[in-house]
Amino acid sequence: MRIGVGLPTMTPGADGALVLEWARRADAGPFSSLGVLDRVVYDSFEPFAALAAAAGATERIRLATMIAIGPLRPTALLAKQAASLHSLSGGRFTLGLALGARADDYEAAAVDMRGRGRKLTEQLALIRGDLDGLEVLVGGGSGPAYARMARYADGYAHGGGPPRAFASAASRAVAAWNDLGRPGQPLLWGQGYFTFGDVERGNDYLRDYYAFTGPFAERIVATNLASARAIKDFIRGYEEAGCDELVLFPTVADLSELERLEDALS
């Protein structure tokens, strides 16, 4: 299992300089990928812009949207952005797409939520048909999401949670993959959150970020990995569940967090 790290594009207080420095250091470190998340109505960086900058600042590391909300973007534009990043990064780009969960993002982007599944399917069909060599992941927990993944993508992007939740999703992804008659196995990507220093600050960010889920936010806060031990256990659990690439997202925008994660992994 490979380990990636998230760029601090969502965490409060991160400026462009920090994001780029983070990308450079991750590229020099033990990480196999840099992941970004996607929200419109939140103080954050746009994922394709952030990865384009990261592509220029790095040499070898893979760059992944974990995930980007496809239907917020016009299909032709999304395909163009993906093709551009694929080329600018020298083939290091992994496009993860899903529907997202927030109505306010759709409202802000002036996109009707109805028909978003159909739109994502069209986007995937177009990108799969036109963009040779681009690695594509699909996320989501519904039957149609797994089918979309198996039909058009190279693998599955899980949305986070304890290892057993990942294992259950991975088993569904493999079931869909075989049902659609794909040869081999889907790539399985997982993700988690971590904070080493100021855990309350990290937890407050998660509470705020997931406030739209109501009381469910506390469940997500409870999964924030707050020690080297917790991270190691989490990694072991994901490895046993068959994860190919686990991306750990920071909750506190501070370069010391990246250093401490490196230490925990060594």
Binding site: A125, Y146, A153, R164, R172, A175, L180, P183
Partner: protein
Amino acid sequence: MKVVVVGGGPAGLYLAILLRKADPGIDVTVLERNAPDATFGFGVVFSEETLGSLRDADPETHLAITDTFARWNRVDIRYRDGLLRSRGHSFSAIARKRLLELLQERCYALGADLRFGVEVDSVPDADLVVAADGANSFIRRQREFGTVVRPEGSKYVWFGTDHIFDAFTFVFRETEHGLFNVHAYPYDEHMSTFIVECPEPVWRRAGLDAMDEEESRAFCEQLFANDLRGRELFTNRSVWLDFPKVTNRVWHDSEVVLVGDAAHTAHFSIGSGTKLAMEDSIALVQGLVTRGWDVDAALVDYELERGPAVERTQAAASESAVYFRRVGSYTQLEPVQFAFNLLTRSGRITHASLSIRDPNFTRAMDSWIGGAELSPPPMFAPLELGGVRFPDRVTFSLSGFVAVSPEGRVSPDTPTIDEWAPPDGLIVLRLGHAGRRGGCRPRSEGVDVPLRDGWPLVSASALPYGPFSAVPSVLDEPGMAAVRDSFVRAARRADELGVAVLELDLAHGYLLASFLSPLTNPDDDRLRFPLGVVAAVREAWPRCLAARLSVTDWHPRGNTVEEGIAIARALSEAGVDLIHVEAGQTVHDDRPEYRRGFLTSLSDRVRNEAQAATLVGGHLTTADEANTIVGAGRADLVVLDLPPSPLDVERSEAGNGLLNREVARS
């Protein structure tokens, strides 16, 4: 800290006990609407495993309740005129009334404040409010928990009887109205619980919808007079009910938390309601203690701890509820298979686990299906089907899609029947015409991704399959005749090639399937062309003929499971020996449900309702699943998705293939 518990059932009382025990300084009040000795229902069941957790949580309660237990380790199944016994199932039961008395006594001893006859009309003011007020919780309705309540299973009614059953007893009784069944078990030295259940249509046909409590009691007493050995049935608000399945998206909202039936219910037929309720109380108090009485943190812990366990139990309970609703379709099964099907209904008991609990039972089952006194497990039982002898239920070579003609290919790498070379072994050849799913890139690059320069497609209607798919032309009568002839020609070729089983692909939206579904075929007589092909091939093919069928379209306007079963029946009547059960892919935007064994229940229904032999896959990964499915009569043949062998891992890591191959062979 002040805690108010609303509801004085097992969950609420046990919570009060555990709270006062953990810290006598905590002010615990239990508010109960009824009098202390009011009770509904008769006995409640506990498994050995539950008793273990009760002992760890409070030895005094454990001691008191186990003292008055009725215990058994047998399940008796009365079916047709016989009796089957399975041993090794350790359970205990207690009178619900006695359980409540003991819990109340323990509450008083620990200084909890119990108030009876109190009707709650708003959320009480406290540091922690526990809604233990049942499936129809009042407190739950005062806040937002994402509650869903929907009925599941059949109609059922609780009685008591003074006939003392000496085992957990299932009774199945055929009547002129349909099948009735009973769940009965002793709960003390004088009484047994006696639950009668039947599907709603049976209940109506029997006139039970119009009977009062006494009339329905007398009806049941007479129907089961033999099983009651002439003893009586007693009522206690014994009205026929629909079981309400309760789920909640979240179980707490600031200081209010749901426990027991208020949070979740599990169909009575697996007897887990009280167990789940008391385990909730244990987890909640544990959370409070480990979090130093920080209510917010403890409630999150509680939900995280209990959520997955409850979900698993609810899923098993729902399987069980469905089983009893459909049990009428299993009455053609021989007694030993009927019994094994019943025992494995919820997925919690499998062939492997039953062979540990009750080796004699699985031996009898294996012997019945294998045909010798000592037989290997069910998946190794031979099978004779359409003149082909399968040595077992899993070892056959199922080909990929082989096209009847070049135009019928899925993608350029699809072999046509003239190019295909048979592998070794007993071959099941899957023969198809891709229809509107043709002209695509190889599946290594994705599915239904059209080639830039494909070939002309045909289908039952001029609807493209997916985004950017080519528009097919409608297959006209001469075209149909040509396709039919190509199937016949391919069947003859397959015979020359030594194929054992010919499987016609009528699934997943390929050409023949496109005719079967209202989503893709506007005609009324949708079976005409596919059945014509089947009949023509049947003429030309001398052995076992299989049909691969999407039993449901997984789409609101598509074929339902019932319609799929009717198609399976029509195929059987046209001479098909085996139905390969699939689902969906009729259209690209269907709503599949993927999980381990996602096709098993469909195969079960086709096999038992259409009386057809079935072959099923659906992401089955273990020999135990195959043994359980074949043993229970849910399918005749099984396709396993075997995960990589650990031996292969060693081989690639050691880089020494020869050694491990030899090890594997020896």
